[in-house]
Amino acid sequence: MAGYLLKRLGGAVVVLFLTALLLAAAVHLVPGDPARAVLGAHATPELIAQIRAKMGLDKPVAVQLWDFFSGLLHGDLGTDFVGGVPVTTLIGEALPDTLALAVASMILAVAGGVPLGIAVARRPGGILDRLTHGLSMIFVSAPVYVTSLILLLIFAVKLRYLPAMGAGQFSDPVNYLSRLILPATALALFWWGYLPRILRATMLEVLSAPYIRSARAFGFRENVIFYRYALRNAVLPIIAIFGLMVGYSLTGTVFAETIFGRSGLGTLALSAIDQRNWPVIRGVVFTYALFFICANILADLSYRVLDPRVRLSEEFETGV
């Protein structure tokens, strides 16, 4: 197990390095000059050169890269071109709101999708099955910005049940939570369409497995077979997609934050892109990548804990 963890962490470091490299390269590939973006269209060439030097853009690419990586090792993501604030401070301010949204959306996704999947698998071909089959198509194919807008129009504008804009303050938890509901739901809708279908399929597959028939032949209670015996095996593939789920939620937050006027990493990234504010973009994307990789490692680890066979096959990898 320790060896496996080490291997995965090593892999993660490589992926992060490549991400950083790609980001650094992007500065030189994407059109638009940060200095011009900051100073506006009428800036004099001298002023631009001065600002570029301040930003470190006049140095050779290799040196810029070196600066970035050596900073990274010290936990320094550079300084904001525009405000002169350390990028880590900006991210630190924006991160809680984004994490709250991502986590809330995933909790909603699982809390809604898994029970629905179980209920559907309980009676395949039943009313609920047919109903969710149709709805899931809509949920899966509707992009976040569409669902966000629709939810916003119905529940905030028309019915006025929930606040429309802003993220609120942690100091007022009820208000904060009420502001989370709509964007988190918008992000969870996809999973309410997707999870029940996956769970239904894996559940039906597991229920037709020989060991389920064996359990029946020994007179196991149906509830034990369904909720204990089959469910644990059927949930395993769901855990494998947890990593994807984190990725989807994080990218989704960019849309949801923009539409619901929330502060967070997404809005931070968006404004940074407008300004060609490279250090901020780099920092934000790097943070996204970090979360995505951690989530995937976590998913794989929990998979190994829950499925004893995976541990074994790992042992055999080097053997026969």
């Binding site: 028939r213 064996s214 359990a215 020994f218 499925d307 004893p308 053997g319 026969v320």
Partner: protein
């Protein structure tokens, strides 16, 4: 044994509904099981054996429907019980173990927890759980799980297939059902493990008086284990009788044909019987007797009227021939058909030539063997798998050599390395007088062929049969005038020409295997390795393949290496037999000599454990091999068999025996074969 039946099935009809079609899976089934009795159910695949066994617990899939019938168990009709009442019956009164022990345990739960769940399912709520542990450990220990108390915490994948089947039996033991249904419980296991499981089932009956319904396609194990046998065909019971009477004196033409299909040593020199055609589709059954189309004895009445089960001494037969009112149609010159049984067709097995076709010297194949200095350093803690470890073997031109041994003995690897499908780690192969290294690969490939174990998987699913058969010609650039036509190739393996346009998935297992053989024969090879040529085939399809291989050997003088678990097959048609254990040959010699006087304790056990239909053979002593084959990664020191050998001494633990001669062309690797031989006589 009380005469009152424990389980009494009457007039059971079961149908499957699939895409609007109705499949008559079972019709008019009658089956009684008395306390402590072992009843065998046999028949080809598609005859309803598994449907019947599942019906006994009412464990049928969702698209099955019980149309009619009664199933009395302990005074209650199971077919009329509610789900909860039925659940209480399952496990406690009638339990079932299944074919695939690798999949019949839940992979994510510890075995102790699975057994506990079975136990809990039949306890009143609030029963003390402490009793369970003791009983479970006792049950596991009694089925031969070592360190039972600790192993309760292990997951299924930590056990071998044989061990898992034992765990299933232990779970049944825990619940003490009066009937255990065993659906092909040993089909996935080696002969040594099969014998251990059959022994366990016998003990279950001896110690606990459990009645057993044993379902199998393997007539041999049924003959060895069962008191009474039911033969099924197309969803009907066609014959029922005491096991001895049924196998010694089969009445129904189908039973007779089945028994005559099975190869054995006593059948050497005879052609095996075959049953033409296939089991009819259950959705379009012919009127009259369902076997009539394949029956050599059929008369016009058979196609018109379906026979009932005609009572006979000890059982019954579903055949008009045994109906006194109709028997007239079968009288030949005033004699009954049994009296004029056709003499079996004599065949010869062509003797091999003098010269060696293929020779291997000190051949080794180690998997995961470290390469270079760094590799050796890294793998210091992890020795390679010694799949084959020092094999010397000569096969003469025209010879049929049978290679037997348990799974993990290295049989298949040896075959593949000899054909250069895998590179040898060390050693030398000489083919037709030339070192393999000096022989151009293409030429070698043309002259040797393999018949693969899984016929369907070894044929490309996107090519038609005709294209598959001519592919060898395209690969080797054979001139058109030297090619055999597709029709000729198909005819050679006894297939009709209209199969040429079919895809592999449209073929039956037997047909696919024949296509595989025809493909191997297209290039007129000198040497063929046949890996389990009859595995997965019904007895009638298997006998047809064996007849074909034997004919080919006779006609073209083909050289065969037959790799198989099925020792009866070797006894039937091989010139010589080689027995492998953990990568080494422990005994090799002429078939007759080895079967008469097996010198190595391992071969002696394998031969004695091979199940036999023949009544005389069934009386032989069975030499059980304890335990399981060790890992070829860490083979035992000294004689590799010493850990399982009842004759092992101090010398066997330290000194590895080498092959020494035990008779004309008969070699054995055992320190004490002389001593053991004397003990026997």
């Amino acid at each position: 044994m009380s005469d009152k039946p424990l389980l009494d099935i009457k007039g059971l009809d079961v149908s499957y509904h699939l895409d609007g079609d109705v499949f008559a899976a079972l019709r008019d089934i009658g089956l009684t099981v008395r306390p402590g009795e072992i009843v065998g159910v046999v028949g080809e695949s598609g005859c309803g054996k598994s449907t019947l066994s599942a019906s006994l617990l009412r464990l049928l899939p969702g698209n099955a429907e019980i149309d009619r019938g009664e199933a009395w168990l302990k005074g209650r009709d199971m077919l009329r019980l509610g789900e909860e009442e039925l659940r209480r019956l399952r496990g406690r009164d009638i339990a079932m173990i299944f074919q695939d022990p690798m999949q019949s345990l839940n992979p994510t739960f510890r075995i102790g927890s699975q057994m506990a769940e079975a136990w809990r399912s039949h306890q009143a709520r609030g029963t003390k759980f402490t009793d369970f542990r003791d009983e479970a450990v006792k049950a596991l220990a009694s089925v031969g799980i070592p360190d039972a108390a600790e192993r309760m915490a292990s997951h299924p994948h930590e056990f071998s297939g044989g061990m898992r089947q034992r765990i299933s039996i232990a779970t049944a033991l825990l619940l003490q059902p009066s009937i255990l249904v065993a659906d092909e419980p040993t089909s996935a296991l080696d002969v040594t493990l099969e014998a251990q499981i059959l022994e366990l089932l016998k003990q279950l009956r001896e110690k606990h008086g459990t009645a057993i319904v044993y379902v199998s396609h393997d007539l041999g194990t049924v003959a060895e284990l069962c008191d009474r046998v039911v033969v099924m065909y197309a969803g009907r019971v066609v014959e029922e009788n005491d096991a001895v009477a049924l196998f010694d004196n089969p009445a129904h033409p189908y039973t007779r044909a089945l028994v005559d299909c099975v190869p054995s040593r006593t059948r050497r020199g005879e052609a095996l019987a075959t049953i033409p055609g296939r089991v009819p589709s259950l959705s379009a059954l012919p009127p009259g007797c369902k076997f009539a189309q394949r029956c050599t004895m059929a008369r016009s009445i058979c196609g018109e009227e379906e026979p009932g089960l005609i009572p006979q001494a000890g059982g019954g037969v579903r055949c008009h021939m045994f109906d006194p009112a109709k028997a007239e149609a079968w009288l030949i010159g005033g004699r009954t058909p049994e009296a004029v049984a056709a003499p079996s067709l004599k065949v010869t097995i062509r003797e091999p030539e003098r010269d060696a076709l293929i020779e291997v010297r000190d051949l080794r194949k180690h998997f995961g063997a470290a390469k270079g200095f760094v590799g050796r350093l890294l793998s210091a803690a992890r020795p390679p798998v010694r799949a084959i470890d020092g094999i010397n073997l000569t096969i003469r031109r025209g010879e049929v050599l049978g290679l037997v041994g348990e799974s993990g003995s290295g049989k298949t690897t040896l075959g593949e390395v000899m054909l250069r499908l895998q590179a040898a780690t060390s050693g030398e192969i000489t083919f037709a007088g030339k070192k393999l290294r000096q022989l151009p690969e293409k030429e070698f490939r043309r002259r040797v062929q393999m018949i693969f174990q899984d016929p369907h998987a070894s044929l490309s699913p996107r090519q038609r049969v005709a294209s598959l058969l001519t592919e060898p010609y395209r690969i080797h650039g054979i001139a058109a005038e030297e090619q055999q036509s597709v029709d000729a190739l198909l005819a050679m393996v006894g297939l009709s020409a209209d199969l040429a346009a079919k895809f592999p998935h449209q073929l039956s297992g037997g047909q696919a295997r024949r296509v595989g053989i025809a493909r191997a024969l297209a290039l007129k090879p000198d040497f063929i390795v046949a890996d389990e040529p009859t595995a997965g085939l019904d007895v009638s399809a298997a006998s047809a393949i064996l007849n074909l291989m034997r004919d080919l050997q006779q006609e073209f003088g083909l050289t065969f290496l037959i790799i198989t678990h099925n020792i009866n097959l070797i006894a039937y048609m091989a010139h010589r037999i080689a027995v492998m254990y953990l990568g080494q040959i422990v005994e090799i010699g002429p078939t007759e000599a080895v079967f008469d006087r097996p010198a190595h304790p391992y071969s002696a056990s394998l031969l004695s454990l091979t199940s036999q239909i023949d009544t005389q053979e069934r009386k032989r002593a069975r030499l059980l091999v304890p335990g399981e084959i060790p890992s070829p990664r860490n083979p035992p020191a000294g004689c590799r068999f010493h850990t399982r050998c009842t004759h092992a001494s101090e010398r066997c633990r330290s000194e590895a025996p080498t092959l020494e001669t035990a008779g004309h062309g008969h070699d054995v690797a055992c320190h004490f074969w002389r001593h053991i031989d004397q003990e026997k006589s």
